[in-house]
Symmetry: C2
Subunit: 199 residues, 2 copies
């Protein structure tokens, strides 16, 4: 480690920003979900990561603040779920550790699949006030993805702290994508998964 | 967003690597916890972030793989809890999205305070097989820090997936540090907190 300290760089591929141009406005939950499902689909098609997409929007204007796709395997980093990337880049854009500031627009996280335990915690800390979910936890687990310790009480907990959850937006489409990933032999990168290329 | 895509840089101050030199071996849980408490203390003293420290060690050799301190406010990034930084940098060092690989040493996360919901989820995904905790959730909440939706079932869930949890290592010291932070007027950066400098 040098006197400059340690550094970790998180890159989001250029095509993500081209598909989800910051500042572009989306009309409603259906349109926002269609966007993040498209991100998930393209991520899978390009071999850039798992079949998950997410984006942070301003509530009201519907403008994209930042988008993310799953980069766990490609980034050698199990934190890089789509939601985590969208939230971190949204905070970078806003320049604050919270997206909940007086006098500024409120924000929402739209995700192609129900957040895992890590991402649900991150959702609460991020300061978004609304969470919009496509595929459900059971859809992800049905194809082998772990979702971690999330319980009905978890949603009650975040609701009590100002995060509203909306479910079932384009669920069938979002769930189909997960099955497509499995059917194409995509790596299910749970902690016990062998590294890519290993048997 | 340029054609190179978006980039986010996470920096860990040089003093963290000097205090927790990668490869240095620590004898037991007490010594490892003393290290991460020192990181938390120095982070607070330097004004670099919240009073939290964490490190990933190889189980067996006791060697430090990577360390982290809280960087939420300074990094404008609510993901940058000490545990998240330690886990991400450990994976960067090992070069894999999981610290659990056949034929390589197992790993443990030692943290000065019980992980929040996000960090507990990240602990499971990281591939560590042991989690060592100093201060408890109640100690953090007593000074105003939110801990998120973590329940007794959360620990049963990760135990069933191969993560052993050990509690109460130097708890009094670790908890005292949290109270010191509050007593010095340290910012409790929950999502509703005003940004630094704001009233």
């Amino acid at each position: 480690m040098t006197s400059e300290g340690a550094r970790l760089v998180i890159d989001v591929p250029a095509w993500v920003g081209e598909a989800a141009v910051p500042g572009r406005a989306f009309r409603d939950d259906q349109d926002k979900m269609a966007l993040v499902i498209r991100l998930a689909e393209e991520n899978m098609a390009r071999g850039d990561g798992g079949p998950f997409g997410a984006a942070v929007f301003e509530i009201g204007s519907g403008k994209v603040v930042a988008a993310g796709v799953n980069r766990v395997v490609q980034g050698s980093n199990s934190v890089l779920h789509a939601e985590m990337i969208a939230l971190m880049f949204a905070q970078q854009r806003v320049g604050s550790f919270t997206l909940r500031s007086t006098g500024r627009p409120a924000h929402e996280l739209v995700t192609s699949c129900e957040p895992c335990a890590m991402c649900l915690g991150a959702t609460l800390w991020s300061g978004v006030t609304r969470l919009v979910i496509g595929a459900e936890r059971e859809d992800a687990m049905a194809v082998g993805f772990e979702e971690g310790p999330v319980f009905p009480e978890s949603y009650a907990y975040i609701a009590a702290r100002g995060v509203e959850t909306v479910r079932g937006i384009r669920r069938l489409e979002a769930a189909r994508l997960l099955r497509d990933y499995r059917d194409r032999g995509g790596l299910v990168y749970n902690p016990d998964a062998p590294p890519p290329g290993a048997r």
